[in-house]
Amino acid sequence: MAGSGQIRQLKRRIKSVQSTQKITRAMEMIAASRILKAKGRVRAARPYAEGIHDIIRGLAVSNEVRSHPLLVQRDIQRVAVLVNTSDRGLAGAYNANVLKVAERTIAEEEGKGRTVDLYVVGKKGAGYFAYRGRRALQVWEGVADTPHIDEAGDIAETMMARYRHAELDRGWLVYTDFKSSLTQVPVRMELLPVKPTEFEGGREIDPEFIFEPAQDELLNTLIPRYVEAKVFHGLLESSASEHANRQRAMKAATDNAKEVAANLSRIMNQARQEQITTEISEIVGGAEALGD
């Protein structure tokens, strides 16, 4: 039998579900506005990356790039895997998806007898690997949400320095590609060595140009910028994807909360009705007993 105590309890649960719904709704809307911003940042970073790429390709026509320390190919023994995850949770399967690609890459490389060095962006990825007993060589926190170029530079330089010193023979960049607000795909890209084919097909820069410093030195300073731009691109794409995933997760949570609240209030109404019916029949029964 439904007592008034049960009704009070239901009322309290409905209230708590509704306040949770308010929170998830707010998070959903915040994430939605962050997607727009993050998409804008991806777009804004493009002219620089393309400009650098164009100039390198232009210089590569008449200059030898294959001997650059970041393009040198070695027998692969030591591999770095850089994984982009988020600092914060509540983003659906975002981290799980990108970590799956990272795990696959690690398994593949280790399957070939290579040593894997792990680099992680984001607390979530760091926690994931620490729990599984695989320590990252370096973790960057507070970067994933709104990445900046100096942070990307720092991350890229960490790997490039080791590559130059032949402490690494390959570098993977694992991130989430933001295809659209609906689809984000975890991908991996070979960051190092830079492949000579990436610099092919450029329009030659007229050798009559004034080069300061000389062309080969310019290439030496520009190629690292190119790698940095790639890392930055991965960070920006990941950040946009994180916000898109969070928006979706929070929308699902909001919808769920709405449903739970509706169900609870149905149960509550039923209980109230039952209580009233019982009361009426008690009164009627009582009145009849008196009337006899």
């Binding site: 170029i149 820069i205 140009f209 004034i210 080069f211 030195e217 520009l222 930055f232």
Partner: protein, 142 residues
């Protein structure tokens, strides 16, 4: 395109910073201060940490703090600056830059020699930002 101006575009790794017609442009290249006037010969120049100064078509002056990058003068006379970091004077928070410079200085004083260069660079960056934001930079490299 008239002879008196050139199209200039300044792009940083994070954003489009400025585009417009300029009468003159000064920047600090790796090998010294350079000035670009309309009709400059095609060039590709690596930039250092330094101020980028522009006089626009309408006579207004623009100051931009540039941290490394390249300056490209195309054969069409168009000037493209690809800067790793570029901030216009009006976008720099002077107080914060000063606080950062202060911290960089403190770090410089007590750190080890191992990453001395990195700390020097970060101090120089902050000093440049202060310089550009307060409009006190010298006409010549200083």
């Amino acid at each position: 395109m008239s002879d008196a101006t050139m199209t200039v575009e300044v792009v940083s790794a994070e954003a489009h910073v400025l585009s417009g017609e300029a009468r003159e442009l000064y920047a600090r290249a790796v090998e010294g201060e350079i000035g670009i006037l309309p009709g400059h010969a095609p060039a590709l120049v690596a930039l250092d940490v330094g101020p980028l100064r522009l006089t626009m078509d309408d006579g207004t002056k623009e100051r931009i703090a540039v941290h490394k990058g390249v300056l490209f003068v195309g054969d069409d006379g168009k000037v493209i600056v690809l800067a790793d970091i570029a901030e216009r004077a009006q976008d720099i928070d002077l107080d914060r830059a000063k606080a950062k410079a202060q911290r960089a200085q403190e770090r410089l004083a007590r750190g080890t020699d191992a990453d001395l260069e990195a700390r020097l660079v970060s101090l120089r960056k902050q000093q440049l930002r202060i310089q550009v934001a307060s409009g006190t930079e010298a006409t010549h490299s200083g």
